[in-house]
């Protein structure tokens, strides 16, 4: 157990300036309750007083930021100088997840909450971050298991409820997405005064090693969203066409097949 306690203490020196300062100030108090040998304790105390701890701390911050800026580059740009303080708040909620997608999903969820309570007010942030997360999901999700799940669901539940094909995502915007994303990629600081506003949807897909995004016709987008969100009575002919094109697929009826990968994928596809 001792080596485990030592590694945790060494990592804590790098992640927590407060812990590091407490070790330097009063090691007995700071290390109380940690299962360290006298040698490990001497090493932690020695480490806390070295300039290398500050380097580790800077690297910790940098390396924790990479998964976020890598997946959510535009959203992080829109956060601007607020990113640093928001990151601290987010990191205080938990350690770095080894899964980059999950880490990005957790950060997006954190930002959704910050937007909901008015902590963030950017009019572009929500749609850019949801788009970037959806793009990452569609490009990184494994194709074969999802295709197998789609085929299995079609066979087992030919009349099952329809969901968006888990290999696709629909990203919704209230600003014209190509113009908005172009400005963000060019790192033009907001506000974007001349952006056309309205209801826009991009269909995101990944096939044969190539990511694609295309603007959805508003009529088709409405049908897809009605089906996915179980609202209204979509035009049956349009639904049949979307099924035929593989954009909508069958899934398990409620209460059945919860273990199927498609159940989770279907939920993730509903935007």
């Amino acid at each position: 157990m001792s080596l485990i306690a030592f590694q945790l203490a060494l990592a804590d020196l790098s992640t927590s300036p407060d812990f590091c300062a407490r070790v330097a100030r009063d090691p007995d108090e700071a290390l109380a309750g940690r299962d360290l040998t006298p040698l490990e304790r001497r090493r932690i105390v020695a480490a806390a007083g070295q300039p290398g701890v500050a380097v580790n701390r800077a690297l910790y911050r940098y390396n924790r930021t990479i998964p976020l800026t890598g997946v959510l580059r535009g959203a992080c740009f829109l956060l601007g100088p607020e990113l640093s303080a928001l990151s601290d708040e987010f990191w205080a909620e938990g350690g770095l997840d080894r899964n980059q997608r999950r880490e990005a999903e957790r950060f997006v969820d954190f930002l959704r909450r910050a937007l909901a309570r008015g902590r963030l007010r950017s009019p572009y942030l929500a749609e850019v971050m949801e788009f970037e997360l959806a793009r990452y999901q569609v490009a990184t999700r494994p194709r074969e298991p999802l295709l197998a799940a789609v085929d299995e669901a079609a066979e087992r539940w030919p009349d099952g409820p329809l969901v968006l094909n888990p290999l696709l995502r629909v990203a919704s915007f209230t600003h014209e997405p190509n113009a908005l994303l172009g400005l963000v990629v060019a790192r033009r600081p907001p506000p974007y005064a001349d952006l056309p506003e309205g209801e826009f949807h991009l269909l995101l897909s990944f096939h044969d090693g190539t990511y694609r995004q295309e603007m959805l016709d508003p009529t088709w987008a409405a049908v897809i969203l009605d089906v996915v969100e179980r609202r209204g009575t979509p035009d049956p002919d349009a639904v049949a066409r979307l099924v035929s094109d593989g954009i909508l697929v069958r899934t398990a009826p409620e209460g059945e097949g919860e273990e199927a990968p498609l159940a989770e994928s279907a939920a993730a596809g509903a935007v």
């Binding site: 590694q7 990592a11 090493r43 290398g52 390396n63 997840d97 490009a139 999700r141 090693g209």
Partner: protein, 308 residues
């Protein structure tokens, strides 16, 4: 420990039989088109397999969700180049049990791309026992103490990895910014002991040595020549930058001059050397461009060609 357990000859023949590949780069996402356009300038492609999949955890129905985009890219590269694996996620130095599922996944990728060897850092990145359901990372590769207790643990794990993956396994010397006092062994003694007790090879990161020598005041050349250089199969060369009063292994653009200064002597002294890999942070591609990357590759090749 007995003398027979600490034998310089264990595994040496296996390393000597490896193919001499030459010079290349460690793949990062900025190199997507570079690989397509300049494969003829490379002798192989080093990849980080762990970055091509998403680890959903041991309890997930499908633990490793492999990125279709990354796989497609590596599959195309593999049609023209040998693929060498350099993983970052095994955390062989973590004090909690070895992640055997991760080893199996690495074995799968070794077989998929017929990698002649694979490597990992001698470090810990996974934090042990934080939570029963979620494994967390330290967000950096932290060095293990060079103690007998840790040596025994690492040796057992290296043996396990070598049992599961049928090609030589290399451990990379780590960078460290904090000095741990009262260690049982020096870094070369520790690395040599692992190699001699397990038969594994070494990935010598020359820049890591330069970083440690700069920050902790020792001679990089002396440290390198204290290693059993017959164990070195691959070299990493890179650049760094200053941060908070120290020199860091930030992979900032071109290879550091101190690395170039050391490289000819190191290459000459490594009889089983098979590869020199240039690694840089992807954010530097915009500054260096394809020509900048090729310049580093060609400089490394000049050194390689003097001895091969």
């Amino acid at each position: 420990m007995t003398l027979s357990e600490l034998s310089p000859s264990v595994g040496a023949e296996r390393l000597a039989a490896l193919p001499r590949l030459g010079v290349s780069v460690l793949y990062n996402p900025s190199l997507r088109y570079f690989i397509r356009d300049h494969a003829d300038e490379l002798d192989y492609l080093a990849i980080i397999p762990d970055r091509a999949w998403s680890d959903e955890g041991p309890d997930a129905p499908v633990r490793y969700e492999e990125s279709a985009a990354q796989m497609a890219l590596f599959d195309r590269a593999a049609e023209r180049l040998r693929i060498v694996g350099h993983s970052v996620g095994l955390s062989i130095g973590s004090a909690d049990p070895l992640d055997t599922g991760h080893v199996e996944q690495l074995a799968k990728w070794q077989a998929r791309y017929d990698m002649p060897w694979h490597s990992e850092h001698l470090a810990f990145i996974r934090l042990p026992g934080v939570d029963a359901h979620t494994e967390l990372l330290a967000a950096m590769a932290l060095a293990v103490p060079y103690d007998h207790e840790v040596l025994d643990m690492i040796v057992e794990r290296v043996n396990y990895v070598q049992d599961r993956i049928p090609v030589p396994f290399l451990l990379e010397n780590n960078v460290y910014y904090v000095d741990l006092p009262e260690q049982d062994m020096t870094e070369p003694e520790f690395l040599n002991a692992i190699a001699h007790r397990t038969g594994c090879g070494m990935l010598l990161d020359v820049h890591n040595v330069v970083v440690n020598a700069t920050n902790h005041g020792f001679d990089a050349g002396e440290m390198i020549h204290a290693l059993d250089l017959s164990r070195v199969v691959e070299l990493h060369v890179a650049g760094g930058s200053d941060l908070a009063g120290m020199y860091t292994d930030s992979h900032a653009g071109p290879v550091a001059q101190k690395v170039w200064d050391l490289l000819p002597g190191v290459v000459a002294a490594c009889p089983n050397l098979c590869a020199i890999t240039f690694e840089f942070h992807e954010g530097w591609y915009e500054t260096m461009g394809a020509e900048g990357v090729l310049r580093e590759v060609r400089m490394a090749r000049d050194v390689w060609n003097r001895y091969h």
